[in-house]
Amino acid sequence: MTECSTPSVLTGTRIRERRLSLSRRQSDIARAVGISPAYLNLIEHNRRPVSPELVARLAEELDVPADELAEGREEVRIAALREAAAHPVASGLSPELDQVTELLARFPGWGQVLIAHARRAGGLEHQLVDLSDRMTQDPYLLTTLHEVLSAVTAVRSTAAILVEEGEISDEWRRRFHTNLHQDSQRLSMTAQALVAYLDSFEAEGSAATPQEEVEAWLASGASDAEITRLASDAARGMAAGLQADLDADRAVLPDQALSDAVTNPEARADPVRLAARLDMPLDLVMRRLADLRPAGYEGAGLLVCDGSGALTLRRAASGFPLPRPGDSCALLPLYQALAVPQMALVRDVVTPDGRGFRTFSHATRSQPRGISGPLLTTARMLFMPIDGPAPADALAIGPACRICSRAECPARREPSILVPQPARNGAVSRDL
């Protein structure tokens, strides 16, 4: 993956200060994060850009939150307190937002306590959502539980026949004994597999599905060498395919050509004009913008879905609530693009915690099996953080309904587990 610059030139200074405070040598840190000492030296003197992925690796090595390296401790603390104040649990309260800086200056200890509690609550909430998702949607878990229940049902009915049914022929008795043996073995193996799988839940943030593995690989820099370290065959195959697609895109639209094109202000602000300027298809340009993240597209994320709305690729942007496959916000402009193929849509959106994002969405259609073959639709949504407050007319989106705090939403499918909601309204009741 191509590296890109973060907005702040002070990141390097913070990296240097943190390293020195730990009395760590430049060469040790550089080796640990996979770059040369000379390159780290340039970064520390703010003479080289540093990608979000590298910031994350450096932060881990320096035992400091990545956002503190990228944005600075004071800014991070102010943002953390504002985020805590924006949480739905604080709705109806009136925290003095204009005095956050003073609070941190006068009561730094209390400020840190508040932030620590808010972060812990956020972490627990995240874990709750993750576990809830797995319990209700994880196909492996559902299949395995069904397998257990089927084996238990067979064992119970068969054992009851042998005990309660009185006279049974030898042939049937032998058959039922064999069935009991088979089902008890199946139950034993399935239960072991289930326990092993549930144990893996303890590894917080561990990738659970091949798609999630591939997304984690993408987020960590998408290096060729890392593909072989992915856990599943399916993930390795998907990553290799994606890598080939990325390489093909880069061959058609090289980094330099894209970087040069975005220097034009009009083209930078409008991917449709950018595509016209490059004389390239818009979908290719959107994919390359999410991959290269050139000036104006720093921190960009990308969502791709097929005609059924199933998400086939998720590339994160900082602060954006990435939708779960099969359970995302119906209001995302990505899905609106499906209804108007070949038409590019621009829409500002705002997340429940008040962060604004500009989105560009576009859907394409194809018939890979010729004129008689099925018509396939693919939609893409490129999204970038908006500096400053979200525009007043931004579309209010959220994560999956179950974990969304917006009480009034025309697209709500089910009540939220985080904030009490009306049992049924909007889209649900009208269709039943």
Binding site: I161, E165, R175, D183
Partner: protein, 118 residues
């Protein structure tokens, strides 16, 4: 016409249920897949359909919806006992005449079938 057609992909469950109900004097036919289920129902025209919810290729819910939408009104009205591995009866399964959760008691199964066949 068969008394009962059971659509269940778990062979050992199907075998146990057939044994229990056969002892009551009912004839029980088996089909193991969601695919071709409607054809099997048309072929056997059972007085009672015992239908598993989680079937390969086509779920019990889909099979039931197909059956209820069949133009043959008599076939569409076939009484259905749905076997479900889920504790809750969802809206689609509510189209069944009875729902029995797995694992079940053989005596309960017998009593429900007796009640449905009259």
């Amino acid at each position: 016409m068969q008394d009962i057609l059971m659509i269940e992909d778990e062979v050992n469950i199907a075998e146990a249920v057939r044994f229990i109900l056969s002892r009551e004097g009912w004839q029980v036919a088996l089909h193991a897949d969601g695919a071709g289920a409607l054809e099997a129902i048309r072929h056997h025209r059972p007085r009672l359909l015992i239908l598993d919810l989680m079937l390969p290729n086509r779920s019990g819910t889909e099979v039931l919806a197909d059956l209820r939408a069949d133009p043959d009104a008599e076939l569409a009205a076939t009484p259905v006992l749905m076997l479900t591995a889920r504790g809750q009866v969802d809206d689609a399964a509510a189209q069944a005449d009875h729902v029995l959760s797995k694992p079940f008691d053989n005596a309960d199964l017998r009593a429900i079938v007796r009640g449905m066949l009259g």
